[in-house]
Point group: C3
Chain length 139, copies 3
Amino acid sequence: MSTYQRSIDIQTRGRGSIEITTQVGDLVRTSGIVTGVAHVFVQHTSCSLMITENADPSVRRDLETLAQRWAPDGDQAYQHDNEGDDDMAAHARSVLTGNSVSVPVGAGELLFGKWQGIYLWEHRTSPHGRTVVVTVVGE
Amino acid sequence: MSTYQRSIDIQTRGRGSIEITTQVGDLVRTSGIVTGVAHVFVQHTSCSLMITENADPSVRRDLETLAQRWAPDGDQAYQHDNEGDDDMAAHARSVLTGNSVSVPVGAGELLFGKWQGIYLWEHRTSPHGRTVVVTVVGE
Amino acid sequence: MSTYQRSIDIQTRGRGSIEITTQVGDLVRTSGIVTGVAHVFVQHTSCSLMITENADPSVRRDLETLAQRWAPDGDQAYQHDNEGDDDMAAHARSVLTGNSVSVPVGAGELLFGKWQGIYLWEHRTSPHGRTVVVTVVGE
């Protein structure tokens, strides 16, 4: 049994999702762990990590449309708006969609289905530097 | 420390949730792992896994009612509708409710509260074959 | 490699969120595990665990406002209302926001970003006793 841990730094361009499947898969391969779980965690509360379809980008555009309903920018009910209209909306989107994903590792690879990818979902409208911590546990 | 990993194939009958607690618990027992974490992952982006009340089935009927509001079928705003009215709705429900659950293992069993069960939640309206990967890590 | 597991009992005062970051961090330190993952799980289906901003309490007040829209108390569409108007709403909030969180452990500490905290989010309106199981896996 062993544990492998590395961080990935990602520069976002504002709201939208960025695929990080390749970076995470590379770390799994480097870890030398054959069977186990890869845990991916974002050290922020205004972006999130998700696994979704990696074929048609319109899926992620539609997710933006829905997220705007789930947690509208600049809602009059918000008390927390220090950093602008997207501030509280970003925290709520993060809580709804989660700040970690974990993926089984088998034969030394991410055990993904055909259409699955890992995305960092930036919820702030302006560009941000984000840190993702990848921990692989297994043997 | 050791790691144990197996897949479960599940045939769904279209939209709705199917309890898989027994299958996961059996794999935990077979693993021989006494203390650790059981990670359960679905290799698809249009169904999800959830832990919810296993006593009154009306809970899961009401969850369907709410999910229809969170991500309505056939919404005019969707760009992604190649596979029909439930296509984008299914991806959105999957992102909202998650494609993995993880449960502590203690004394060789899932450490569930009295009313907790694991469900595969099919979001497509037609029947699908689904693969769930269970990984148990611990000692 | 080793595994460490302990339970935390928490008495809630009804709906609202309670920070448990310190208790979880203390268990990580006690575990002696230097690198790995801390898995935190709540053994109930009407409360949840979340990671969100720990600086301005208005974030968590606004989350209550939004959760009331995501799963309204006493909605006429609910079939499951045995325990009152907040019964089904609590189950739905739990499914949406999740019954576990997991955090990387590095240098023997939770690898949190500057503004992240772990919260037990009680969704029932009356006080409840809740049990949280913390499992640390790593080496």
